[in-house]
């Protein structure tokens, strides 16, 4: 029953009723309503409970300034902590108040009110600190009762993040913003206009003004139509908050109702040449006892409800103001036939134009409200002269107050612009800009319609270098204010709230000052004033006023707190956009991926987003049986793996040899064309960066391979050195990882398989010895055959163009069938390299070890005077500190598996570790578990017994060389 809906007027659609639920009850609103206006239309006055004291609260504002009524939306579009005034009503919407259980009418937490006197500023800090705040935090968070995060992502759509560019970004589509957009648009600039309300018009939507002799909303409609007709006006977004102003004129826009219904919300990153901030102004409240009762509302909000939503927020209103703007609201109330009992004006003199607007409504000048009757709804107010004399009780169900206007400087301040206190407006206004932005209209303290239009046009004319246009004629309004920071009349008793959302009162601020927190930033944190979702849009200046009054200093000296993003709450989903990891970081595949999947491979990520097969299970096999089968094929017959993901770079130029000598620890420049060499790269501080193979293709042409995971790092490393340290060196680096694929056949029968495949390359041990390569054909396909080995067996790495890879692979599998060939996954590769004691970055190389620790002193060239990391390794090894060195471990019980990462401690005792197990695999050649470990002084402790200490056991193991198979390397050289 919308018994508070006015019979006519408003921007709602009376033909489209919308059913909704609030705290479990059914109501009906109209299309065009916000949740707040629909609740008021249904005469729902008690809509919330407060954060700390659980005091009953109603609706206070009409937009993002709302401090009291936060709701949680339920159902398919669940969302937490939304201001009821910014939630657009939708059919079937279900919402509930936060901070109260089970309902705001019967709130179990309300017992807090009985102890209100015991919950002063800093109460939490003082009380819940022993033994640790974290012990109390979950309980307090629950009691404080802000809504929880939704349990699942929204079901019916996704979020989106988009970039945009604009010559002029206009924030706000009120009179100043529209005027600015028109001027910039007519000048031919790319204009981006974003406005937080559902429709353009800003304050014009809430007021009854005329522009050029017609209703102001006609001018708004004409302006929007003109902007829409301009192709250079790239975006006209409504229901879109500009929530962050970042460096280099990058602003974030949260579009909450995009036209595409699949997109829940869209987040824009807009880079703008010039920003015009037409963000308007917020009315601030007055500070008097019980100023938080349901039915105490901002005058401008009431004006919006009457004019925009045709809702009567009460039946009999009293106004309380210290400035002229409330009188316009009184006039609108009278025009709508809503009774106004009195105007209480704290000023001694009320201007004549204001008196005219008030008509026959009695005005009590020089007076203040010293109390409000009614706990769950206003039943009346007590009024007195400023000093406290001459009290009078006035019956009313609505108290509308106005303490002045605060320009919405949030974005300007985020952009690092300075603020200055303006005496005539009694508030802070933008001063010096730090980026290419200008504030216009209400945001600049230009509160009248005429000055909004003028400043909007001026800013855009200046930004675009065009002439100032003729402005539409409007009635000039005047505005004056006499600041009243708080009502302190004798007889004024009760809590006077500065921050309604966080329950911060004047007494709290006084206590904070008394306890020595006298910087405004400290007061903010100690009292939590201004730290709610509303960021103190209605209350912050009053807090500054309270501090100034108490300390007896001007407001300018108190200053403001830092404004931070977001200006209004933003969903995490909107910030993220579509960032499910497969979208942002897609997997990389080789031409064999499909084959692998068809073959039932269990896929792993092999680093750098490459997907590789982990192992190829067969029916009835255990995991270990699968891995053993693949390993045995390589050790006893032949196996094949896809080595395509290894990083590959082609280096060309006269100075490549010299350059490789600088980045590898060993000598590369002595290689002859057709040869390759394993090498180690260090960082300048002496840690191992990567290992790989360098091949010399010709006099000035080389190919360098890297590990899969570090390809990008090595690329950056090479480019940085070449471009910043050696710009005069003639070396060009081309990443060719995706230009070369390779299938590596390995095992004692590899040469036989190659013969079966057919090749024009002499593969005999003399024709193509270990660590050499040749170009030719394999199975009729052009290929480069490289004799390197990562398994310790005879290996041929067959490099082909990607278009030939699948073909080559299938021919290998076909030709290999008589030899019992198996495709080999990364699990088996791991076993094979451990059996050989080949190092693996991330296992044995952990950021502390160097090549000497790994028993690879031979790779640290002594001939070279300098290379990256040389000096640092020498420095680190000086002083004979104990080092952890690579060893092999044979568990005393061959069936004991030691978990990778297990600590080694002397005797397995509970004491500092002397090393750790870096890898442990079932060896198919030894038929037992074998492990690699880093052990203190391990190189000189072979044949000792050490102990891995587990949670419930210790495992003894014998120390040996870190090689379990073919220590002479005869097989891979065969």
């Amino acid at each position: 029953m919308q018994n508070r809906r006015l019979p006519s007027g408003g921007g709602i659609d009376r033909g489209r009723p919308l059913a909704f639920r609030f705290n479990g009850k059914e109501y009906t609103g109209l299309s065009g309503d916000t949740l707040a206006s629909a609740l008021l239309a249904n005469n729902v006055r008690l809509t919330a409970r407060s954060f700390k004291y659980h005091r009953p609260r109603g609706i206070v504002g009409s937009g993002p300034e709302e401090p009291a009524t936060l709701v949680e939306l339920e159902g398919r579009r669940a969302s937490a902590n939304q201001a009821a005034t910014t939630v657009r009503l939708a059919d079937g919407m279900s919402a509930r108040s936060v901070n109260c259980w089970p309902s705001p009418g019967l709130d179990m937490g309300a017992v807090n009110q009985l102890f209100a006197g015991l919950i002063p500023a800093g109460f939490y800090y003082k009380t819940f600190k022993w033994p640790s705040w974290h012990l109390y935090e979950p309980m307090i968070r629950k009691a404080a009762g802000l809504a929880g995060a939704p349990e699942a992502p929204p079901l019916d759509g996704h979020f989106e993040a988009v970039h945009a560019h604009a010559d002029v970004l206009v924030v706000g589509a009120g009179p100043a913003g529209l005027m600015a957009a028109l001027v910039a648009g007519r000048a031919g600039c790319r204009v981006f206009l974003a406005d937080e309300r559902a429709e353009a018009g800003g304050s014009l939507l809430d007021r009854r003004l005329e522009i050029a002799g017609k209703p102001a909303l006609d001018w708004v409609a004409d302006s929007v139509a003109e902007l829409k007709s301009m192709p250079n006006v790239t975006h006209l977004l409504q229901d879109a908050s500009v929530w962050a102003y970042r460096e280099h004129n990058c602003l974030m826009v949260n579009e909450r109702s995009p036209a595409n219904s699949n997109v829940l919300e869209r987040n824009w990153r807009v880079r703008a040449g010039q920003v015009i901030l037409a963000t308007g102004a917020f009315e601030r409240g007055l500070v008097f006892p019980e100023n938080d009762r349901p039915g105490v509302m901002l005058a401008s909000a009431a004006q919006a409800y009457v004019n925009r939503f045709a809702v009567m927020p009460g039946e009999r209103a009293v106004f309380f103001a210290n400035n002229d703007s409330a009188y316009g609201v009184v006039a609108d109330f009278r025009a709508s036939g809503i009774e106004v009992a009195a105007i209480v004006d704290s000023r001694d003199v009320v201007p004549d134009f204001a008196r005219k607007l008030a008509g026959d409504v009695p005005i009590r000048a020089g007076s203040v409200v010293i109390g409000v009757r009614g706990k769950r709804a206003v039943r009346g107010v007590t009024v007195a002269e400023r000093g406290g004399h001459g009290t009078e009780k006035i019956y009313c169900d609505l108290l509308l107050h106005s303490g002045g206007w605060n320009p919405t400087v949030h974005l300007f301040s985020q952009s690092r612009g300075n603020l200055r206190y303006d005496e005539s407006l009694a508030t802070f206004v933008p001063d010096e800009a730090a980026q290419a932005c200008v504030s216009v209209g209400g945001a600049a303290g230009k509160l009248s319609l005429a000055s909004a239009l003028r400043t909007g046009a001026e800013a855009a004319a200046k930004a675009t270098g065009t002439e100032m246009p003729n402005l539409p004629a409007v009635v000039e309004e005047s505005y004056s204010i006499a600041p009243l920071w708080q009502v302190d009349a004798r007889g004024a008793k009760g809590k006077a709230f500065l921050d309604i959302q966080n329950d911060v009162t004047v007494d709290d601020v006084h206590l904070a000052l008394l306890e020595g927190y006298d910087n405004v930033e400290h007061v903010k944190r100690y009292t939590t004033g201004g730290m709610g979702f509303d960021q103190g849009k209605t209350g912050n200046i009053n807090i500054i006023g309270a501090i100034a009054l108490q300390k007896g200093v001007p407001l300018q000296d108190v200053g403001t707190t830092t404004f931070r993003p977001p200006y209004t709450p933003v969903s995490f989903g909107a910030i993220g956009g579509i960032r499910e990891e497969n979208v942002v970081l897609p997997y990389r595949h080789t031409p064999v991926t499909r084959w692998n999947l068809d073959r039932g491979a269990f896929m792993y990520e092999a680093g750098a987003r490459w997907r590789r097969p982990g192992y190829f299970p067969r029916d009835g096999e255990t995991f270990q049986e699968t891995v053993n089968r693949e390993c045995r094929a390589v050790r006893e017959g032949v196996g094949v793996y896809d080595g395509s993901p290894l990083g590959k770079f082609e280096l060309k130029g006269r100075d490549v040899g010299r350059f490789l000598d600088h980045i590898y620890t060993n000598l590369m420049s002595t290689l002859k064309a057709g040869q390759c060499r394993y090498g180690l790269m260090l960082t300048e501080d002496g840690l191992i960066l990567d290992d790989g193979v360098a091949m010399r293709l010709g006099e000035h042409r080389w190919l360098v391979s890297t590990s899969t995971a570090h390809a990008d790092t090595v690329h950056g490393h090479m480019e940085e050195l070449l471009q910043t340290q050696f710009p005069e060196w003639n070396v060009y680096v081309t990443p060719v990882t995706s230009q070369w694929n390779n299938a590596t056949v390995c095992g004692p029968k590899a040469r036989e398989l190659m013969a079966a495949l057919g090749t024009d390359i002499d593969l005999s041990p003399k024709g193509l010895p270990f660590m050499s390569f040749a170009d030719g054909h394999v199975a009729g396909l052009p290929a480069r055959v490289v004799r390197v080995s990562f398994t310790g067996e005879l290996s041929f790495e067959l490099n082909v163009a990607p278009r030939h890879m699948r073909d080559l692979w299938e021919r290998i599998m076909e030709a290999g069938e008589p030899f019992g060939i198996e495709p080999v996954g990364s699990e088996a590769s791991h076993v094979l390299r451990v059996e050989k004691g080949f190092l693996s970055l991330g296992h044995e190389v952990d950021g502390t070890v160097d090549a000497h620790d790994l028993g690879m002193s031979w790779i640290m060239s002594k001939k070279k005077r300098d290379y990256v990391g040389k000096r640092s390794v020498e420095l680190r090894r000086r002083g004979n500190a104990i080092r952890r060195e690579l060893v092999g471990l044979l568990p005393v019980d061959p069936n004991d598996q030691i978990p990778e990462g297990a600590p080694l401690t002397p005797g397995g005792e509970r004491c500092p570790t002397e090393g750790l197990v870096t890898a442990c695999v079932w060896s198919v050649v030894l038929d037992r578990w074998v492990a690699l470990a880093l052990l203190e002084n391990g190189l000189s402790r072979h044949s000792e017994t050490v102990h891995a200490r587990l949670k419930n056991a210790t495992i003894a193991a014998d120390v040996m060389e870190p090689v379990f198979h073919d220590p002479e390397g005869l097989r891979m050289r065969s």
Partner: protein
């Protein structure tokens, strides 16, 4: 998000670049420098409250390693001091 001037690509979003850190002094000859100076070179990174010269890699662009002066207080990209390289 900053807008970084690339000499080849013009002004591009920071997200296209990889940070390369503040510019250090030239690498000393490791065979002709004291331990202290070598450690100083390795570990001391300029960290001024104000303009700092730093490197960025246009990794998702043309691949250039470029050098800019950035004011750490504001993110403004500024002219370097007149006596700088």
């Amino acid at each position: 998000m900053m807008l970084i001037p690339c000499p080849f690509c013009g002004h591009r979003n920071e997200s296209e670049f990889t940070y390369g850190g503040p510019v250090k002094p030239d690498r000393p000859d490791p065979n002709a420098t004291s331990d202290e100076d070598w450690v100083e070179y390795l570990t001391t990174v300029p960290n001024p409250f104000g303009p700092v010269q730093e490197r960025w890699w246009h990794a998702r662009g043309c691949g250039t390693w470029l050098t800019i002066w950035r004011d750490t207080r504001t993110h403004d990209i500024v002219e370097g001091p007149s006596d700088a390289e």
